[in-house]
């Protein structure tokens, strides 16, 4: 999706994509060039909703564009306000399972790499400060609190 067709103001989505490999469950994280913050960081696949999209279709699209994965199931986890003093639209969080690999489709000028961490390592990284992205921390902790990971 290029910048011209990507409209602001429809809310955002973030996806906790889980992949079971033998006895371990892996979380799909991306490392994105986050120019606003002056360095890149590990986070869940996420993005803005487009006009006419439901949160569910936006979540499926962002997961596919950023990681190449399509998910067999995509369940709503929660929604939250990332900047309630400034932004009106909430972010919707989904849990994606049954992942099938495909090709990434990045925007022009977008640079990101895909990483898979075990659930244990990702949760440890929230606690020890290796993951500092608020939505990623929130979704991982909430998923654990609900017994999903």
């Amino acid at each position: 999706m290029n910048a011209a067709t990507r409209k602001r103001g429809f809310g955002g989505v973030a996806v906790l994509a889980l992949r079971d490999v033998e006895d371990a469950t892996y979380v799909v994280l991306i490392r994105k060039d986050k120019r606003a913050r002056g360095a890149d960081l590990f986070e869940l696949p996420s993005g803005g909703m487009l006009k006419g999209e439901t949160p569910h279709t936006a979540a499926a699209r962002e997961l596919r564009e950023e990681t190449g994965y399509t998910a067999a199931t995509m369940e709503a986890l929660t929604r939250f306000h990332t900047e309630p003093g400034v932004l009106e639209e909430p972010m919707h969080a989904y849990v994606a399972c049954g992942l099938e690999a495909g090709r990434q489709a990045l925007e022009e000028g977008e640079r990101l790499s895909v990483h898979e961490w075990t659930v244990e390592d990702a949760l440890a990284a929230v606690d020890d400060g290796r993951i500092t992205d608020a939505k990623t921390m929130l979704v991982l902790l909430l998923a654990r609190s609900r017994g999903l990971i």
Partner: protein
């Protein structure tokens, strides 16, 4: 944690000087020399505070002979722990949200000072101790805002001191109720959800 940035920043231009934040446009150059522009908000940093009321100390002071209330564990944790939250009018949303007290660092202000100031101004409680919980990027796609989280204890009520036009009501919650409200999605403020879950995960709540 930090890796190299793939795009090189070659320019920065002020687009809008806001009352609280500046809006700037960055010019980035990729490997082939092509330029890309990103508009972002420059932020001085912020704080969020988890104020924990220590009922144990006060109750034992008043009634020394009596045992601790059974609901409250000796560490002030668990089912009986009480926290102070605010109900904030959010005009961007057109509604009120239950949140932990929070605020923006003033120019040159250390985050711990901001935390002490904001908890007092917004909740009316002065904290004897502020314990650092951690920090996070609130919305890294649009701003460099780094938010620092503190746990405030030893609270003494001194009265709110709100900015003009600010309407904030103070509510006490049990930790159990607040965590339940997070779980069912009734609390929707990201920093509040994150800090409550983080505090539980660390054994603070």
């Amino acid at each position: 944690m930090d890796g190299p940035l793939e795009l090189k920043q070659v320019g920065e231009r002020l687009v809008l000087k806001g009352r609280a934040f500046d809006f700037v446009e960055l010019t980035l150059r990729d490997e082939e020399g092509k330029e890309h522009r990103r508009q972002v908000v420059k932020h001085p940093g912020s704080v969020v505070i988890l104020p924990i009321l220590e009922g144990v100390a006060e109750e034992t002071k008043q009634k020394k002979a009596e045992p601790l209330t059974p609901a409250l564990s000796p560490e002030g944790r668990g089912r009986g722990a009480r926290i102070v939250m605010i109900r904030n009018s959010r005009y961007a949303l057109g509604c009120k949200l239950d949140e932990l007290p929070a605020g923006t660092c003033e120019a040159g202000e250390a985050p711990e000072k901001t935390a002490a100031r904001e908890v007092r101004e917004e909740t009316g409680y002065e904290a004897a101790t502020l314990e650092y919980l951690g920090r996070f990027h609130t919305t890294p796609g649009m701003t460099d805002e780094l938010m620092h989280a503190y746990v405030a204890r030893g609270l003494t009520h001194v009265g709110q001191d709100l900015d003009e036009g600010e309407h904030v009501s103070v509510r006490e919650w049990t930790a159990e109720d607040a965590l339940a409200a997070v779980d069912v999605g009734r609390i929707t403020d990201a920093k509040t959800i994150l800090v409550l879950l983080w505090a539980r995960s660390r054994g603070i709540l």
